[in-house]
Symmetry: D3
Subunit: 329 residues, 6 copies
């Protein structure tokens, strides 16, 4: 894994040699007619604009979005926003030993620990049918994708291993619900939690950046998961029909309401538990991230967050000097 200083940690005037992922590339012209290269580049800590004024033609014709570049540059700013001025640039090659995953955000949790936790949960299932089904669905290739895919493009758990982290949180919450109500079908809920967002494996791409696939936009992760369960359950002899329908129901109804794209609403106590566990995991992750990253100036608020339909409040830390507005100096 790539070790280099994050772009967010440099200061204006610093020089640097960095590998960066190319997320936009254009040739533009100043009002006075001079051509220049306009780029957007990212490392694991975020995104930065860049300009290159000379000697970019060869690079421009070989490069494209999604490629990794090695840049020799100086940190600068333009109207208060940081930017890079590039002196030299080339595409990375195999011997550089860099990969796209070096430039994508990833879960803060330890990956090996999360995998072990997930495996233990599957191991703990006592319903043989559900356990067999999950083992059949998760062949090695599928499991690798499932362990890597983010849970979304931008809103919550939007980083490598995000779906895994999100799923483990949901299971933890669902287990609490099962402790409260032992009459709930624990194995059904856990299998539902494991599979509820399974379709994101096909709905999202995450190799060079996070985006939706055509299949994802035409069918959606909910129905993709349902189709996979149906296919794999059919391949198991005597898989109980009622149990299969219940599991598919949990997956289909996990967004809770028709207008949130669930084709059926939750019709079982287990489904309603899964729905709210999913919401709690998703929203608390999203709100905490926003509160950490989007504070507006000296205020105690982020800007308006469309998906939350509000700005988020960030409590002032006690002992903190809150900004005081005296009228005159």
């Amino acid at each position: 894994m790539l070790k280099q200083k994050n772009i967010m940690d440099y200061s204006v005037g610093d020089d640097a040699h960095l590998f960066l992922l190319l997320t936009k590339i254009d040739k533009k012209t100043t009002r006075t007619g001079k051509e220049f290269l306009s780029l957007e580049l990212r490392d694991i800590s975020g995104t930065i604009s860049a300009k290159m004024w000379d000697g970019f033609e060869v690079f421009f014709h070989s490069a494209s979005e999604g490629k990794i570049a090695k840049v020799d540059c100086k940190f600068d700013e333009y109207n208060g926003t940081p930017q890079l001025i590039i002196n030299r640039i080339r595409l990375a090659n195999e011997s550089d030993g860099v990969a796209h995953s070096d430039f994508l955000p990833r879960s803060q949790r330890d990956f090996e620990e999360m995998k072990a936790e997930w495996n233990n949960i599957v191991e703990s299932l006592t319903n043989g049918d559900l356990k067999t089904l999950i083992e059949k669905i998760f062949d090695e290739e599928t499991k690798e994708k499932y362990f890597n895919v983010p849970a979304g493009k931008a809103w919550h758990h939007a980083y490598i291993h995000g779906l895994l982290e999100h799923t483990l949180e949901i299971i933890k919450i669902c287990k609490t619900a099962c402790d409260i109500h032992p009459e709930l079908n624990r194995d059904l809920i856990i299998a539902g939690a494991i599979l509820h967002d399974f379709g994101k494996v096909e709905e999202l791409t995450y190799e060079t950046s996070f985006d939706y696939t055509d299949k994802g936009k035409l069918i959606g992760h909910i129905v993709i998961a349902a189709m996979r369960i149906e296919a794999k359950a059919k391949a198991i002899s005597d898989f109980p029909e009622a149990l299969k329908n219940q599991l598919i129901h949990l997956v289909l109804s996990h967004q809770g309401k028709l207008e949130h794209a669930s084709p059926v609403v939750p019709k079982m106590p287990e489904a309603v538990v899964l729905y709210h566990a999913d919401e709690m995991s998703a929203k608390s992750n999203a709100y905490l991230n926003v509160a950490k990253n989007d504070r507006q100036g000296n205020s105690n608020w982020t800007n308006f967050i469309r998906l939350a339909e509000t700005a988020i409040y960030i409590p002032p830390i006690e002992g903190d000097d809150t900004p005081k507005d005296s009228f005159f100096d």
Copy 2:
């Protein structure tokens, strides 16, 4: 097929010997303590209440809802509503040569003609992949169910062969749209029309009465159809992935809006055509049926129809006598 006079055509005082389907059965007690048998019975023309005052014990212990009974009865009325007074009753047996389908409403269109029309449409598909897929989905058993199932429990095309009639109407409307816009993918629309409500084969039961199955309520006909297409297309070597996703998209989006239980909205011109053709076929069938059957007294209106969110207007026929609403005479 059973030949007997419809119950709607008898008058008060008539005696009759009829085969009728038992849709409710209860033993009740009058205020003065006398026990009697209270029944609801149906033939192909509708439903009628019935009472039996004596000698019903043997029958009561052998009978249950969904069975066919032979009744010896007199037509009577109670507080203005027609009812039967039963003298003798027994369950039908095989030698009576009656079947449940004798008591269920069915399409007015000729069944053989509809089947031929459907077969011709499939035959006319020029896209080999879609044609193969449809032939694979419609094995003999499936085709028989598909040709018999109603399109719904009560609202539109709610009769035997209803789904077939409804599908043919949609295809006719879609063909008009294709004539207007030759750039539409005709075969994709037709395949989508054929399969859009396919899931009703598993969503509904129609043997003794029309109702939803557990699977239908937990998963819904939309996803049932998607799962079937996925499974059958996978079994065809080299079925084009993009085409499969488009076809599933048409099925998933055919109810047009998330709040109408489609998990994705129409995202292709073909999908939006199918959505409105389905609506036009369903609504015109439903509104015409309601207008024919639910006129309120002498008014030009039906009562309030919940699914239409309005009462329906029935234009007065010029020179017509006002509508007759007595049940008998």
Copy 3:
């Protein structure tokens, strides 16, 4: 506490001497002109109709809804529904040693255990301001009401001690969320959970039956709680203004959406966690109760539940005989 056999456990023909709570009382007339007393009575297990044919005049003039009666009766049925035929009846008097609480449903959980759990939670708060505030709010009289009041009239935790049971469930779920996200303000969430439905103490009456007070209907439990927190925090010197506003925000926003009667939406991660913990506790309790009590005949479904906007599915138990639905056997 009253010890007598539950009315739901008697059979037709049984004679009984019972204390029952009077929930409806009317004098009616048969078609033939005979007057009789028509009653609805309840014990802890449910409600039953009753008729008394003679000698009821004295009782009728002294009785009213909400009083407790001692009845000498026989179990009977009328058109398939159980009813009591009363021979003698009188109002209970103090020496009978019965109380309204003997006739109201109550939590299945051990009351002493729940109180201890609640006290431990308050004890565990490390934020001195919040702890002081809660101790100030919960004087002995308030605490007793809070420990007894149901969480609602009918939908979830609608029984004596219901609010306490509901609050403990929410706290358990919130603690899981805090384990997942240690950066959440644990004490704030717990104080919010303790107080979120505090206003039900004034919104509901539960002495003779569960109903809303005028204040409850005019102001609502959400604002009642906010006003109490404001008043009690003001009485604590130097209670931090920002903390008070956050706590009131959690209470006000706990129903999650304006259209659910929260005057503000959740604007903090802690508020969004509390909202979903509340939903999960309420809905899982409600759905499980409905599934246990409202199965329709032999089907796997309850009837349509308005607040769930669906019928609830009750999975068939494998190897189980079909459910018995006769009231008496």
Copy 4:
């Protein structure tokens, strides 16, 4: 009609002499203080920006939006977007023989053929009252406007003759519905289709560009049409009152729902057919246009279309090279 090469077909560096419609005109200043003329111009194929650096004062004082200009110019580009650099410019005069209609988009269908089709439909009406009414409404001047007006400002059939084309499509779809259901009142539906958007004649201007009139915004095309029908039917002796109300009902309800600005919902089978035929014609036209014109780069999707509440999918053509999106090659 003006014959000149479309601006979309020129390349960078080309010189041209063109008549163009002025849609925006401003005088601006560079950072260095130099004044220049900034224009937006359109021909029938689309819109382009333009700059003029010298000698524009006389023109600037006589010109205004909506005028036609003759320009002597060179095709250039600025930051990747095409623009014109104007050397000389003057307003068109009558002897130039150009008209605004030369610069407005128009239906692809043959105008004479559409007129004939429309006339035949009117001719085919068998209900004398409806036929007389339509002939009375469509005097020569009205008919000309009706034949020219677009069906909307931008969404569907937004070009000269658009309303006519749209109306003919609806009638074709309605005829299919009448073939399916012969009990529908064919003449009523056709008259409703002819008049449903009649009000657009007064709601829209289309002489120099497509826009709403004050009357259109204050009253709307639906009520404008209703008022015209009322007035013209009153002028026909013995026009049947019930028929008039039905026809106005079809016009008023053709947008199907109150929230779509219909003051009544469809209450007749004929009204529900017209509603869905209108939707099908409008949406299929709009989606096909968007799919043809708004593909985003190399993707299979348009950008988000607000009125469709989704992006539109454009299936990849098999064996096709990826789409070319450079403006000049």
Copy 5:
């Protein structure tokens, strides 16, 4: 006008000779087979059920709903609800000097005073065009209907002269708004208020009971009014086009929102004033009536009012003995 004691003021056992309006008439049969006449009758104070056991055949064949009957009867009750037992009955004839209006509720305000107030308002208009238009619309016949028609079937001002009373209230409120904002077009608002519900003249029937006409249900009072204004303004030479459109706009938008059946939303300050004045007049009338008439038992609440989406609170009168529920007697 008919002078007789109101049916609501009689007691059980009283004999009476009354003129009553027949609102329902049926022949029914008891369980024991005896036929009887079942009626619903109304006077100005309300509605009552009635039974007649013998000698009703001649009356039954001549009578129908909407006729006035003279009855010789005794006040009785059945299961706690008052009813009449009829001894003799005949239809009223002209010499009886009774009219339907004797049996319909009417405004409490003095009719002559209201007419004078309305005439003064019209007289006070300073805009000649608007004044002429209103005089043209209100010929004698129209004015009489307008002065008599109720403002609705049941919700607000649902009595004879109700529209007039409602209109005068709106004008009073609008005048206050004009006092606050002298820049409002006072004459336009007043003309809009006078005409906003004008269409109810054709939307409602009120001769024998209050109901909607076919035209009312197919077109609605909003568009009916717009069509009348258009027709009458056209007949005035040089009526200003912009003023006419503004006036029609006020009428069309007076229900404030598309989903309340206004085809356009208010787009002028005058329109928004009229909308809220209408709401205030309608709702305060409706809520006050409900509070006066629908108190539930001893509670301070009416039952749930669908159009208000709530029960209405009726404050207890101070010094009043509120019912006290002691637990034991």
Copy 6:
């Protein structure tokens, strides 16, 4: 109070010495690398951009948003928008005798007159409890804030004394409603009107600009007012509980609908009157302001107003030369 010419009344090229309020301050860099000061400044008439090219370093380090500056400047324009070029600038000091209120918009009505009107209204209350309560709530400090605060940030009455002006309008409208319906509780409505937006005293800041406080965003003015009434009523011995609940109900329900952030809907005639009086005052103020200030070019319309969900129409003044679009010059 500051006397100086409004910035909106200067012309390009004018020199001026002005006190202005600093609303934005940034240091920026031109493309050629030159630093400059970029400011936004306001006086009572509006806002203007400003640039300062030299000698701004000292000022930049002492200045911040919300301070008042004395500027020596020239009026200029940039791309058609007016801007200031600043020669010299310094912060205002106390001896300058200027205050923030000199730069904020204020009500057009006479402040002393409004205060007197408000005092008279309070004086006129006949209900001693309500009068005492209001006097207790409005101590001198509170009254001063209440008399100064705007009724909102931008939409209606968004100026100093705005809440007072708005409240007086509502009371005027409510009095009209009480004249129409003498049975309304006049004192309750007036007290409700006085207090309905009381919470804005704590919800908004208006010292240097109009904005929401943290408390305002977390709790909202509705609940802030309820808490204050509760606290002050508690401090009055024997304040009637029912009256207090009614008053709080009026405040809580004054936004009319849950989705408008009222935690209860109006459940009393008085509450529904207050709701519509508030709407009428707010909307007519907002629409009239928009119509006065936002006309788009030569059209009769403002641009789209998000809170009105429409553009607003501004009637052409008769005799006015409306813009005529001739096609050629």
